[in-house]
Structures are given as structure tokens and as C-alpha cells.
Symmetry: C2
Subunit: 418 residues, 2 copies
């Protein structure tokens, strides 16, 4: 069977399964999630053995230690995956809620009810634990999902997919609700993103190259972000101690992720009292500072920033720093170089806090908090499948509710249109 | 200047204008809408003169009387356009509302605030009054819009565009917030749908061919429906008088529109008491019935339906009719042949009404009401720019709220992530 026809069959099976998922009760879905958690723990030896096959191939291929670490499924990671499944079970069921209902002058009652999206194609790289997280979120939101993981994780993903399907089956849920694509061939991605009849949305997660490829070639709508070039703007009214704590946390706590700080903007009145001390803290943590001329005057250890540093997502202990003459200059900088992911202002000024919140066109805009909080779990969504920086459907982190849509329901008593 | 660079400049101007629209108050936007209405009435002679140029070219090109009618801007149509502008002014401003806000254990206050989408590309055919309606809705929702109307309406649209820009200017709003593409060349559409940096969403409205072309080639997300193959299912428990009134209204009241009835499904227990009488009413209105074998037994005037009739959007006084043995058969038929637009059940049975509402995966699902009510205005959204049958962002009619999205705002007091 060709890759195209295999993926076509998987998509049709997913579409059929999604019909069966529409009417499931929360109890049925949670039961499947608990069964998945049990099976994961019971079968951890098989899983880790399959994962070893992936790891030894990855070592032979010369993958970096960081990549090998992300690929590894050990007891601790499997335990965390099982915990994750139980956490998703503990979240409320988004399906079936009526966010609004109103009555028309002619007596029609018009409401919106939350329903699953249908079939989701999820394309991701390396970490096999994401397979289980994504399957859990899609299932709880009533969606069928087709998972295309990174080729390095193929044996781990196939083993996890089998276990998930078994759990679904035992819970009386169509087992094609969760399907892992059992091939490493790139043609599978091309096939998946062409099936706009049977797949409702594609969510790609990984490097910018993968995401650009999917976005440019997909006939199915795509929810994604390319990169997170996150800014903190330290206003002239900021508490400098708070600014230091937040800027340090946002850059250093986990520099390799999309909500880490990449460019620090400092008002010129705050810069002399803030930047030299801040730079010392950054220096002690090994952060390289690439600054504008005014920054370099204040921070002798800084190197000169080039134009390419302003829109850069370093994902590393590197920080671009610019001194600005006004908040307007900061807003212009963010508008020009930002990625609409996460921006924060540090300020004690009421009016500027409000103007920053209103004017910055990013999925999450913060006052006096670390950009690292742009994460479904940290913001209170329970869990997330990704972050969307296109404006459609769900701008920002996507949790269970964002994996649903609403349809209109109309209760009539025989009304006809004049 | 090439078409591509002209459209590129328009898109960049729209993006710049959209920044200025973010912070506008409702009063400013409504002021512009009232000024547009005044100008429209004051300048009706110029508008109708430009419209005459379009009409005479259309007559020379041999357009049908129905097409000429849709293209005509006379006193009555211009008056209705002005009323439409004032109606949009009377609707609440969707921008700035906080649908939800909550507090996290660490004290962070997390909310969602409604914001404009940004820049909308609206591609539509023939009727020039749509130019004004769409501009009004986009403006009120805080979006910049680029309008590409049908080539037959080019002079009318350019004249309307000038007037709208003048009104914006007088109201102190960036006049590039509303731009009409001043060319009939198809290349303008191709250019528009390639600009994913400066345009946030494309909304095409018109024939299926146009919409398929846009969907297949656009790099910008598209909100659209291909067609409306709407079903009414007459259950065995239906009040047959109510069923007759609704089925007649849904098919006959305005057969050329997307929410008109195209396929009638009748439970076999209801068919003998319902179909012969219903068919007489249809006959008197000139409706051609294309039926399944059981329908033909009951309705002597019916012709045999072919497979291609079931997924057909007739947009005419033609109706496909099928007798089904159960509601499950009706649900299967809708799942197979429907367009996820509008479906209704006529029933007095509580359980079947609920099951129909839950199981039918369409943007609007109704009990005991005419499919003709799937329309933003009729459902209480005030007005609509179109109906979306893709599941993303807004499933169903799209009014002002559907022309916005939400971003997260976070109010902190110095929180950092552990």
C-alpha cells in the first residue's frame, strides 16, 4: 500500500471514529484515560525496550546529548506521562457546555453549544511523551487524532500508540480515535496535510522549518506559532528589584523554550540604575548580552547587536538589549520585530500598564510577571497542546476548550421566515 | 506598478491602519458609520451614475436579468445601504470585552480580552451593496479590510470606496482602514491571498468555483462555506401541519440562497400522511421533486432522483426527497451528503430532538424551525459577513464578535516561574 493510501485510510477511519466520540460522556473518556495510565505503568519495560532501539539508532546517528535526553523514556518520564493522563482526566469536559443562549422576538431560542473539532492531525518532533499528552487532550475534547512524531522516536511512538488503542478498545471507545502513523517517511506529512475532507485542523509543533513547510503546503487549516521572540519592557516607573527578578527568570530559568525572554527593552531613564546591575546577574549566569550603543555604554561586557539580533529567537543564554527613549519606541520595536507570542511590561504606572496591554498585539500580554507564564498549565488551562500565534480560532495557548468549536442550536415551535 | 506590488502596498497600508484601529472608542467608529450613511445619501447621483456604467457594460456582455438585478444600485438599494450602516452603528462594540477572568494560586490574574483580528481580505462577487456592508462590519470590529468585488461592479465599487475613505478621514480614522482594489484583474486575488504577513484572514463569498480556488491557493487562513445542502428531517412524531409550513417555507420562500432546503428526509411512518399533500403544495409553487423509489410511489408527479441529486445545491425550485426507515438512516444520509451548513428536525419527540441536536455536525442545527433562519441577523447577531462551515474560529454565521479574536492579559505583582 502506498503512503498516500495508508494515510488516506487512517484519515477516513479517524473521521468515522470521530462520529462515535461526539456523544461520549465525560465518564467514558476519563475511564479510557485512567486505563491508558495503568497500561503505561504496567508495560513500562516494553516501552523502555522499544525506546532503547530509538536511542541506540540516535546515538549511531550522532544526535546531541540534549536531543538524546528529549528522546529518552525512563521510569521517571513514564511516571510523569501517567500522571499527565490522570491530570487530563481531572479537567472538566469542554464538550456540551452552552456558553450562551438567548431568545429572539419570534420565540426562537438560539444557543451555542461546545462541540469537538472532529479530526486533528498533530505533527511533532522528537519527544515521545508528547504522543501521550496530545492523545489525551484530543480524546478529552472529543476529537480523533492522527499523530506523526519525529522519525527518531518511531519505535517508541508505535509502542505507545498500540497501548493507547488497546485502552480505548477496553473502554468501549472506537480505537481509531488515536492513531500513530507507523512510518518515518516524510511523504506521510505531505499526505496528511492534503486531506482537507477528513481532517479538520493540523497542529504542527517543532522547529521553524517544519512549521513553515506545513503552513505553506497544507490544505487543512493550521494552528501554530513559528517562534517566540518575547520582549520585556522595563518602564521608567518600574520597581527595579522586581524588574531584575522577572528579567532574570524570563531569560535564565529555561532558555531553550518559546516563552523565554529574547529581547529586553529598557526606558532610558531606568537604564543607568538598572542595566549595569542586571548585566552583572546575567553575567554570573553566563548570559551573553548583545546591546544597542547606549547599552554598550552602560554594560562594558556587552557586544554590539546587529540588525539580525532583534528578530532572533536565540533559545540560548543570549539576550538582545535595547535602550528606548519612550514607551512608543518600545511598542514600535515590538510591532516590528516581535512574533506576537508573549510580551511583558514592568511598571508601576497605571496608564502605561493599560496602554501596553491594549496596544501590544500578542497572544499573551503581561504586567509585572515573567514571560515564562505563557503556558496552558501556568495560565490555568490545565494543559496545552501548543501555542497559536495566528489570530484565528485560539490566539495563545491551546487547552481543551481550544480543541473544540461551537455550533448553533435553535429550539423552535414551528417558526418560518417572513 | 505591477498588480502584485500594488496589492502589497495596500496590504502594508492596511496593516498600518489596523494599528490605529485597535484603540478606537465605539463612539469614533459609530461616528464614521453615520458619516458614511450621510455621504451615501448625499452622493446617490454620482453612485448611480457610476453604477450605470457597470450596468451598461453588463448588458452588453449579456448578463442575465437576475445578475443585472443584483448589480443595480437604485434609490431604494442605496437607502437600504445607509440603513444598514446605521444598524451596524447601533450594535454593541465587540472589542474590549473580557469574556472571562480568573485568579491563579500564585496571585496572577489571567483574563481574555476581545481584540480585532487585524486585516481582513474580503473577496466577493457582483452585488456592490455588499462592499458597504462588509466595510461597516470590519470597521466596527476594529479591523482594516481590503475589498475585492466582482469585476462587473468595478465602477460602483470604486465610487463607494472613495466615499467610505472620505468618511473615515473626516472621522479622524486612518482612511486605509477600508480599501477597494481598483482593478478587475484576477491576478489581484492571487496576490491578496499570498500575503500571510500582512493579512490575517481571507473571507471569500460567491460561487463554489471562486471559493475552491481561494481555499486551495491561499497562504492566509480562509473562513468560508462551499455550499449549503440543507436538510429537513420529518420525524414520525412530527406535527404534519407544522412540517408542511416549515418545509414549504424552507424551500420556496427564497430558493436561490444557501440556507434554503435542498433535501427533504421523511420517516416512512410519516410519509404516507405527509408526502402526497406536501407535494401538492410544492407543485402549486412550481417545485420539481426528485424522489427515491418510495417517494415516487407516494408522489406520482415526482421524477427519480439520481445519486448526484443527494449532494446537490440546486439553488432553484428543485427538491430531493428521500423516505428513510429510521432517524439513524436520516443521520447517515446527512453525514454522507450534507455540507455542515444547516439541518432541521421536525418532531414532537423529546429524545429524538435531543439526539438530532447532538449528533448532527452542522454549523446550525434546529428543531421545529425553518432552515432559512441560518443568517446572522435572523439568529440575533445583528448582521453577518458570511457563514463559515470549516470548524475553526467561528462555525456558522459570522457577525461582529466572529470578526474578533481574544488575547490573554495577565496582571501580576512580580511573579516569576519556579
Amino acid at each position: 500500500m502506498s503512503i498516500e493510501s495508508m494515510i488516506g485510510t487512517m484519515a477516513k477511519d479517524a473521521r468515522t471514529a470521530s462520529r462515535g466520540l461526539r456523544g461520549l460522556s465525560r465518564g467514558q473518556k476519563d475511564d479510557a484515560l485512567f486505563k491508558m495510565a495503568e497500561k503505561l505503568l504496567k508495560r513500562r519495560e516494553i516501552i523502555t525496550a522499544e525506546n532503547q532501539r530509538d536511542l541506540s539508532a540516535a546515538r549511531d546517528a550522532g544526535l546531541s546529548p540534549a536531543m538524546l535526553d528529549r528522546l529518552t523514556l525512563n521510569e521517571a518520564v513514564i511516571g510523569a506521562m501517567a500522571d499527565g493522563l490522570r491530570e487530563v482526566a481531572s479537567l472538566p469536559d469542554p464538550v456540551g457546555a452552552y456558553p450562551v443562549m438567548w431568545k429572539r422576538p419570534n420565540g426562537l431560542q438560539v444557543g451555542k453549544v461546545r462541540i469537538p473539532l472532529g479530526v486533528i492531525g498533530f505533527i511533532f518532533e522528537s519527544r515521545p511523551n508528547v504522543t501521550v499528552d496530545a492523545a489525551a487532550l484530543c480524546l478529552k475534547a472529543g476529537n480523533a487524532v492522527i499523530l506523526k512524531g519525529g522519525s527518531e522516536a518511531i519505535h517508541s511512538n508505535i509502542a505507545l500508540g498500540e497501548l493507547l488503542a488497546e485502552a480505548l478498545n477496553e473502554a468501549g471507545i472506537p480505537q481509531k480515535a488515536v492513531q500513530v502513523i507507523p512510518t518515518t517517511e516524510r511523504a506521510a506529512v505531505n499526505a496528511l496535510i492534503s486531506l482537507d475532507d477528513d481532517i479538520d485542523v493540523i497542529i504542527p509543533r517543532g522547529g521553524e522549518g517544519l512549521i513553515r513547510f506545513v503552513t505553506e503546503h497544507s490544505r487543512v487549516p493550521v494552528l501554530k506559532h513559528y517562534k517566540g521572540v518575547c520582549h520585556v519592557y522595563v518602564d521608567q516607573s518600574a520597581s527595579l528589584n522586581m524588574a531584575k527578578e522577572i528579567c532574570f527568570n524570563a531569560k535564565v530559568q529555561r532558555p531553550g523554550v518559546c516563552n523565554a525572554l529574547e529581547t529586553l527593552l529598557v526606558h532610558e531613564d531606568a537604564a543607568p540604575g538598572f542595566l549595569p546591575e542586571m548585566a552583572k546577574e546575567y553575567e554570573s549566569a553566563g548570559v551573553e548580552i548583545r546591546g544597542c550603543p547606549k547599552t554598550i555604554d552602560l554594560v562594558p561586557g556587552a557586544v554590539a547587536a546587529t540588525e539580525s539580533d532583534w528578530p532572533a529567537e536565540f533559545l540560548d543564554l543570549i539576550l538582545a538589549v535595547k535602550v528606548v527613549g519612550s514607551m512608543d519606541e518600545a511598542l514600535d520595536h515590538i510591532e516590528t520585530h516581535g512574533s506576537q507570542h508573549t510580551e511583558a511590561i514592568i511598571t508601576n504606572d497605571y496608564n502605561r500598564s493599560q496602554r501596553f496591554l491594549a496596544q501590544v498585539d500578542s497572544s499573551v500580554v503581561m504586567v509585572n510577571a515573567s514571560t515564562r507564564f505563557n503556558d496552558g498549565n501556568q495560565l490555568g488551562l490545565g494543559a496545552e497542546i501548543g501555542i497559536n500565534t495566528s489570530k484565528l480560532h485560539a490566539f495563545g495557548p491551546m487547552g481543551l476548550e481550544e480543541l473544540t468549536t461551537t455550533k448553533f442550536v435553535v429550539y423552535g415551535q414551528g417558526q418560518i421566515r417572513d
